[in-house]
Amino acid sequence: MLKYILKRIVMMVPVIIGISFLIFAIMNLTPGDPARLMLGESASNEDVEALREEMGLNDNFFVRYFNYLKGAVQGDFGVSYRSKVPVFNELFSRFPSTLKLAFGATVIMVVIGIPVGVISAVKQYSIIDNISLFSAFLLTSMPAFWLGLMLILIFALHLGWFPATGVDGFINFVLPCITLAAAMLASLIRMTRSSMLEVIRQDYIRTAKAKGAGERRLIMKHSLRNALLPVITIIGMNFASMLGGTMIIESVFAMPGLGTMTITAVRMKDTPLVIASVVFVAIAISLMNLLVDILYTYIDPRLRTQYSKR
């Protein structure tokens, strides 16, 4: 098992190097000069040129990438061009808001998604099932930023129950979390439903029913537990993709999180900061996927023997 985990982590290394190269290339080979953006339009050409020299922007592209990589291997990921702070300090000052947002949204998603999915499966083709499937369609078809605006319009501007912006307290996170959860909810409902439907048709469920197990016990203990495996994948994947997919929601709710930071950094051609944040998100996503795989082995003992054989 440990060997498997280590292998997965080692396999991430080339992908991460690839990502850093890709982002480095995108940032450097496209028009726009970071030195000019930092000094503003009114700065003289000499000043811009001096700053470029100082930042090492005049070297060959590959030399610069190699220097960056050399620093990164030694633990120096560079400083943000704008704030002059080491990129990971900047990153970690922004990360908590995004993490809270993703976490809150996941909780909402699970609390609503699994029960609704189970009920739709148990009462397949009933009115509840049809309504929940249709709302799932509606939710996937709704752009998150529009739902966010609608929630602000109703609950912040008209009813005044929740603030529309900020990250100061729990209450600030309510609307953004709902918005983020809504987009992911549909996939969870549908996955829970289809997974439950598959399990309900198994022989052991019929056996349990035949020996007189109550419906509650049948659903909660016999079916749900066995249907949970694919559901957990979806939850894990959704949580991971939330970490990298909050840009638009953060900007709707004016939250200073990872997403808004990344957008500003891309616009200002702040290469070290952009690489750091994209690589960070990518690592978070693959660690999350690994965690889901490990979790599997605890839920399904059959898989455990499979891994230990490897």
Partner: protein, 301 residues
């Protein structure tokens, strides 16, 4: 004798034709039974007709672009059924021309990324080995970056504009198509008819184009339909952030971001463009889902 062979041949030809039609027919038969999927199809037809007929319904320069401060911020009324925006432009005209923008850009995006994805995926799947490894590792790098993050990075780096938007969206879509194409090809390439074609000495390119891709097209079409829906959301999202289509071109996302400022007192400015997006995306999602069930009924629950 010869007459008989001809007769047999023509019978065989007719038979194969019938067979082919019945395949399409049975897909259509299964699709038709799905009410939600039919709703999707109808919505999409309406949307397509509206965007094709847009110039008949409104005048682009007069209604959708020209600012008319005298008539700004009018609530929906009988002259302007969706009202007017803060520059006095007719919202209805902007919505229907916006449909053109969204649909055409997302179609181009999907066409571009699908063609590149098919080439990469089929080469990787067909040849396997080293080429497959290298291509798929590159795709893994792209896939490891969340799609929206990728699109934002590219379009913010290139600057806003229609061409750049298409480029960014296409690049971020390619890896997914390449993956799907590759995996469907892997399931097909060892089947007898491919072997037979190989034995006949058919060139690889022709085998891929004529024998493999047509047989793998089902899941690809489904994915493409669902991707058009996602692309419409992404385009409007990027425009909402000011990274997409440049003003004053009517685009649903940028209309939302303009209307946002006035939303407290003029909520229709954000409600209507949003509904337009939901309408279009839902049509495509319903259709994609129906197509998936119709093409492969085994998958349905």
């Amino acid at each position: 004798m010869t007459d008989n062979t001809v007769l047999n041949n023509s019978k065989a030809v007719r038979k194969s034709k019938v067979k082919k039609r019945s395949q399409l027919k049975s897909i259509w038969f299964r699709y038709k039974k799905n009410k939600l999927a039919m709703l999707g199809l109808v919505l999409l037809i309406i949307l397509t007709l509206v965007s094709i007929c847009a110039p008949l319904l409104a005048n682009y320069n007069e209604d959708a672009i020209r600012q008319d401060m005298k008539n700004r911020l009018q609530f929906p009324n009988k002259d302007h059924i969706f009202g007017t925006d803060q520059y006095g432009r007719d919202l209805f005209a902007r919505i229907i021309f916006g449909a053109r923008v969204s649909l055409s850009i997302s179609l181009i995006t999907i066409a571009v990324s699908l063609s590149i994805g098919i080439i990469i995926g089929s080469v990787a799947g067909f040849y396997g080995g080293k080429i497959d490894d290298v291509l798929m590792r590159i795709m893994d790098v792209f896939l490891a970056i969340p799609q929206m993050l990728m699109a934002i990075s590219i379009v913010a780096a290139l600057g806003p504009g229609t061409g750049n938007l298409i480029a960014a969206m296409s690049i971020s879509n390619v890896p997914r198509f390449a993956r799907i194409v590759r995996s469907s090809i892997l399931t097909i390439k060892d089947q007898e008819f491919v072997e037979a074609a190989k034995a006949c000495g058919t060139r690889d390119g022709r085998i891929i184009a004529k024998h493999i891709v047509p047989n793998a097209i089902g899941p690809i079409i489904v994915q493409a339909t669902l991707n058009i829906a996602e692309t419409i959301i992404s385009i409007s999202g990027l425009s909402f952030l000011g990274l997409g289509i440049k003003a004053p071109t009517p685009e649903w996302g940028s209309m939302l971001s303009e209307g946002k400022e006035q939303m407290r007192y003029y909520p229709y400015l954000v409600i209507i463009p949003g509904m337009a997006i939901v309408f279009a995306v839902m049509a495509l999602n319903l259709m994609g889902d129906g197509l998936r069930d119709a093409l492969d009924p085994r998958l349905k629950n």
